[in-house]
Amino acid sequence: MLNHNLKLNIELFNEDVEKISTRVGFGEGLVIAADQNKNVVGLCADLTESTYMHLFARKYPERFIQVGVAEQNLVTVASGMAKMGKIPFAASYAMFSPGRNWEQIRTTIAYNDVPVKIVGSHAGVSVGADGGTHQALEDIALMRVLPNMIVLSPCDAIEAKKATIAAAAINKPVYIRLARDKTPVMTTAETPFEIGRAQVFYAPPMTPQAGIVATGALLHKALVAAQNFAARGIAIKVLNISSVRPLDFEAIKSLAKEAGAIVSVEEHQVVGGLGSAVAEVLAQNCPVPMELIGAHDKFGQSGTPAELIEHYGMGVSHIEAAVERVIKRK
């Protein structure tokens, strides 16, 4: 059952659950962060409306810099602003930032350890019709290998809003991963959020037979899978990992010890993403069988988000099949 201590959206299993894209949550969060701190500034590379930075840009035009289609400049200019005491949010599509400008981020932001917040929207195949060039499936891997970098991948719009406000408050470089598509709202304003902390969203009353760790909007499909298993009398526990780095080692270890088998779920290549990060923790601490849901060595393509999620093996049925496989391997 859903963990009621977290005050999650009680309608999250309803057919007509409210759907909002995480980028909207970011846009609203940025305005709040900017209201709270005059040093919060925004930079964008010609995608102000699609990243929802326009909400900030309209309210604080004197604190907004439009750099044009120049993502290398986007993050290096942001780095310079951070060195003068600003808290810059630099927004674009994940494919271009951090996709195109990784070395600029490494050298001028992570290496200098300055508090630039890199906002990569349109991550994952759920970008849809634009096709594979625009569907970032490698960005978590790119960012989580960088020393000093914090990597946040919120599960819904409300969490994205909290992640944005938390990112502004921490004096570190942060990457925030967002998606284009409208996705189910799973949390509420009261749900706690903390950088470095994973949350048990679904906790069965008895010992779980497997644990699911999920990041981003696919968490909803993991919860649906857990609910379906519960109906069949199979207990599954689900962890929301919105803070991919720092990763909540204790929560992952304790889930592995309790459930004895883990399935990771992410809209990202299984190489280098959340699944890899979790596998690193388990291999070094408490190895248990693991199955990884995500893109398996493939680029995306055009289609509807629903078609693509199914095609690339990230749907509810795929998660259920992976859980069954992993339980057999125990």
């Binding site: 290398q72 400049n73 290096t76 200019v77 780095s79 310079g80 060195k83 003068m84 600003k86 290496y111």
Partner: protein, 282 residues
């Protein structure tokens, strides 16, 4: 800026010579590093740190200091030597260049030397960071900020696209406090810039990007100081100073030879170089 007297010029020539000697000593001790560019920029560094910049070595984090960003981090021997001779840290420490645990990393790293404005080495990233600093400062202080922002670049790093993205933004934002100084020494690792990847007509390119341009002899203190003065007087646009320099300046067997771009003198070559430099100064 103060009045530049003949006496001060003579004094700076002597200081630049001392800095060049430190550069040679550091490189010999390190056994690797970049000689040509470091020697070529000694006069400009001297003019900046001993005459032009508003800074205070006893208070390196002074909020109102001018900001200097070294984009081509590989010439850091001259940067470190100038900082030491200005009083930022003991001259004896220069001998730790490129050694384990040193403040003086092979390419500048701000974590090891916190009063650096940035880390550098990978080329083409300094100008956009300077643009960002300038923009942030303007948000706080408006158009007439008391600070000046300088970015030092090599010529070959202009082959990086990121530089031109920064050039466009600086021009769009009319950053009048920004002065870029290009070390036009015509060499890069694999040869002469005009053979490897031609940059000319360089001044016309910057003008087309909306910058105020000047070309100077980068070894003439009067011209260096004069050009910076003119750059600061320009309203509503950023300025670039293309400084023609001689790579390896002051050491005859290094001058104008691209082979010395990324090479350090051995002990014997170092002795020879120091002797020449001492003679030049006498």
């Amino acid at each position: 800026m103060l009045q530049l007297t003949d006496e001060k010029i003579k004094w700076m020539e002597g200081k630049a010579n001392e800095i060049r000697r430190s550069v040679i000593e550091m490189l010999v001790e390190a056994g690797s590093g970049h000689s040509a560019g470091a020697l070529g920029m000694a006069d400009i560094f001297t003019a900046l740190y001993f005459f032009i910049l508003k800074h205070d070595p006893t208070n390196p984090f002074w909020e109102e200091r001018d900001r200097l960003i070294l984009s081509n981090g590989h010439i850091c021997p001259v940067y470190y030597a100038t900082l030491a001779h200005s009083g930022y840290f003991p001259i004896a420490e220069l001998k730790t260049l490129r050694k384990f645990g040193s403040h003086l990393q092979g390419h500048p790293h701000r974590e090891y030397l916190p009063f650096l404005e940035t880390s550098s080495g990978p080329l083409g990233l300094g100008l956009s960071q300077t643009v960002g600093m300038c923009l942030a400062d303007r948000m706080d202080y408006g158009k007439y900020s008391p600070k000046q922002f300088y970015c030092l670049l090599s010529d070959a790093e202009l082959q990086e696209g990121n530089v031109w993205e920064a050039a466009m933004l600086a021009s769009k934002e009319r950053l009048q406090n920004l002065t870029a100084i290009i070390d036009r020494n015509n060499i890069q690792i694999e040869g002469y810039t005009e053979d490897v990847m031609p940059l000319e007509p360089l001044e016309a390119k910057w003008r087309a990007f909306g910058w105020h341009t000047q070309i100077i002899d980068g070894h003439d203190f009067k011209r260096i100081v004069g050009a910076v003065g003119e750059a600061q007087a320009v309203a509503d646009k950023p300025s670039v100073i293309i400084a023609n320099t001689i790579p390896g300046k002051g050491v005859s067997f290094m001058e104008r030879r691209y082979e010395w771009h990324g090479k350090a003198p051995n002990k014997e070559e170092g002795e020879k170089a120091l002797e020449e430099l001492r003679k030049n100064h006498a």
